[in-house]
């Protein structure tokens, strides 16, 4: 299947889920219409974490197998994850301002998201600062592994410190749960954005593969 065709399918799917989120799912009682942003916010956060998890897997795989493919996957997942986390960091304050009365608070999940973004920004910066492809792949992979290990530590340190973010409604234990129409909208949005995630990562992966072969060809031309 061509990727433009896949993109077209995803475009329709997102339009449908957007419609469902706004017109099919009921308006939340206490927050009102601003709660609609959650459909995008939470789904993007979920996609970002999947992307960073993939990056960690690719980093580990690179260190042990030294296949260039794992390196390409690592950089693609990190870049796309950073894009998703930016959406999370922008939509979060838009919701928080009317509901909490402030744009930002240094709560566990907010701070974790921010620090996670910073860590992967450093990961991408580090990659741009090492010329030699093998070295770049190895050292950025090692940094990626250390950075990912930091994630639970950041989370728990801030959680013990202070926390204000709403408790998880989905999978949040007894008393939590969603209205069925909301749940359908959430699940579809999750599905659609996971599709976008896969599409973007595979496009970026192909780009990285092309870049690597260009680099190889250039080097071959220089040798001759």
């Amino acid at each position: 299947m061509k990727s433009s065709f896949k993109a077209a399918i995803l475009f329709v799917l997102i339009a449908v889920t957007g419609y469902l989120a706004f017109y099919y799912a009921p308006i939340e009682r206490s927050m009102g219409v601003i709660q609609k942003i959650f459909y995008l916010h939470i789904s993007c956060a979920f996609s970002a974490f999947v992307a960073f998890g993939t990056c960690f897997y690719a980093n580990l795989r690179y260190v042990f197998t030294r296949e260039a493919k794992s390196d390409w996957l690592g950089v693609s997942a990190a870049e796309v994850g950073l894009a998703f986390i930016t959406v999370v960091l922008v939509t979060g304050p838009i919701w928080a301002h009317p509901v909490w009365g402030i744009w930002w608070t240094w709560d566990a999940r907010l701070t974790l998201t921010f620090v996670l973004g910073l860590l992967y920004l450093s990961y991408l910066l580090l990659r741009s600062m090492i010329e030699e492809p093998d070295k770049r792949a190895l050292f950025s992979a090692l940094f990626g592994i250390f950075a990912f290990l930091d994630v639970p530590l950041v989370y728990f340190s801030i959680r013990w410190w202070r926390t204000q973010h709403p408790q998880p409604v989905i999978l949040g234990g007894p008393g939590s749960g969603l209205e069925p129409r909301m749940r359908v909208s959430y699940l579809l949005m999750w599905g659609a954005l996971t599709g976008v995630l896969i599409l973007l990562v595979s496009a970026r992966y192909r780009l990285e593969a092309l870049r690597a072969s260009v680099e190889d060809l250039r080097r071959e031309a220089e040798v001759r």
Partner: protein, 224 residues
């Protein structure tokens, strides 16, 4: 046990190199002094205010100082390619890291203990009764800075703009250390000082996580 024997020899070498010139120690002490003095202009350092903001600025200055101090750790070995010699001379490459991070922890701890009385005088806080407990917090915190710091010093030594890269890689990762050590220090500087075992345990946990990671992945960090 071979690791420990090698580490002792290498630690001796690290300490000798530093104590011949004392370059790192003097510059770090002066750097922390400058930062601590400059911070005092940003708020009114009365006893109450100092108790609130003092621990944070103290740890921030330690973190910034460490990110500069750890810079030459592996860079120094590049000049005459002594890293290859080191690699050949030890049975387990982990002992290179163990020696370097012990030396770095020691240097950090030494500068911090030197700066503590200066900080206490400038900011009107009482440290005499809790000095030993403070040293314990300083030790666990410095270890937490030195373990990923030593690892990343090996990474940044491979990159361009390495003087900027190390702080960029290290500082976001140290968020948990900053929170835990600041909170533990604040509790000790309080009017009714308490030793916060929970934060100390957290710091110890951080140290163990990254020491294990370094033990598992250290040998890859030394690849050329």
């Amino acid at each position: 046990m071979a690791v420990l024997a090698d580490t002792t020899v290498l630690l001796g070498k690290e300490l000798r190199t530093e104590f011949r010139s004392r370059e790192l120690l003097t510059t770090t002490v002066v750097f922390i002094l400058v930062v601590v003095v400059l911070f005092s202009f940003t708020f009114d350092p009365s006893a109450g205010e100092s108790r609130r903001f003092g621990p944070g600025l103290l740890w921030l200055s330690f973190l910034f100082a460490a990110s500069l101090m750890l810079q030459p750790c592996f860079l120094r070995e590049q000049n005459n390619d002594t890293l290859s010699a080191l690699r050949l001379s030890v049975r387990d490459p982990f002992s290179i890291f163990l020696a370097k991070l012990s030396a770095n922890t020691l240097f950090l701890l030494l500068t911090e203990v030197l700066m503590l009385p200066v900080f206490a005088i400038l900011y009107n806080v009482h440290i005499l009764g809790v000095f030993l407990q403070l040293v314990l917090v300083l030790f666990l915190g410095s270890l937490g800075v030195a373990i990923p710091g030593t690892a990343f010093s090996a990474i940044s030594a491979q990159a361009r703009m390495r003087e900027l890269m190390l702080p960029l890689l290290l500082l976001p990762l140290l968020t948990p250390v900053l929170i835990a050590s600041t909170e533990a220090t604040r509790a000790l500087l309080d009017a009714n000082p308490v030793l916060r075992a929970d934060w100390l345990g957290f710091l110890a946990g951080f140290d163990v996580v990254f020491l294990t990671a370094l033990w598992l992945f250290g040998e890859y960090l030394l690849e050329e």
